[in-house]
Amino acid sequence: MTGAYRPPRDNLWFARTRHCAFFVLRELTSVFVAWTIVFLLMFVDAVRTGSLQEFGALAGRPWMIAINVLALAATVLHTITFLNLAPKATVVRLDGWRVPAWMIQGGNHSAWVVLSVLIAYFILRSP
């Protein structure tokens, strides 16, 4: 008597349906989240050690810009999908009335826009 039957694994399961492909794409945004953190740490290190010139040259290389355009697309996809998930994790009730999902998602996306504008303002304003 051998072990239980295990059907062979489908190595291309993620390419079978659009739903699965999108799921994997969404999960892979995490690689670019990690990359963005590494890039930001390199930037902060350059600011603190006074080597902004070298960092600017590196950041301006075509391959680096290409990676960061991908990182921008991935982080935006992460933001939209992650903020849209919030109502599944958070049920908000006000006096027995359940706040609808679109309101929670709308609040999240509004917060994203407001925070982004604020951060851009603090970075770009002239001292």
Binding site: S30, V33, V44, V47, V69, L72, S116, P127
Partner: protein
């Protein structure tokens, strides 16, 4: 009942997910795309230095780095296992992923403080 780390890892994952969602796109847009392309001028070194020297900014950055790295580590752990069919090596993969996040957090601490 046996206590596991799993709930805390999920907590870090969701916290990091929210932080990454709200903060990273604008940062990568500015520092990774618009400034290198010359669409927007780089801020002066003094201005950036003043921002980076503020202890509150540094603490916030450290929190962002730690949370985002754990978010990424958690997702990469499970995605790699599902994608490549290597779930039987979960312990090794978990150690590599979270270990990477810890190393990144320590590096951030050394850079920022």
């Amino acid at each position: 009942m046996r206590r596991t780390l799993e709930p805390y890892l999920w907590l870090l994952f969701s916290g990091g997910g929210v932080v990454a969602a709200l903060l990273l796109p604008v940062l990568v847009l500015l520092f990774g795309v618009l400034m290198p392309l010359g669409v927007v001028d780089w801020p002066t070194a003094e201005h950036l230095r003043a921002l980076a020297d503020n202890v509150l900014v540094r603490l916030a950055l450290l929190a962002v780095v730690v949370l985002c790295l754990f978010h990424a580590a958690h997702r990469i752990r499970f995605t790699s296992e599902e994608l490549l069919g290597i779930a039987r090596f979960d312990l090794v993969i978990a150690v590599i992923c979270y270990g990477g996040a810890v190393v990144g957090a320590i590096t951030a601490g050394l850079i920022l403080f």
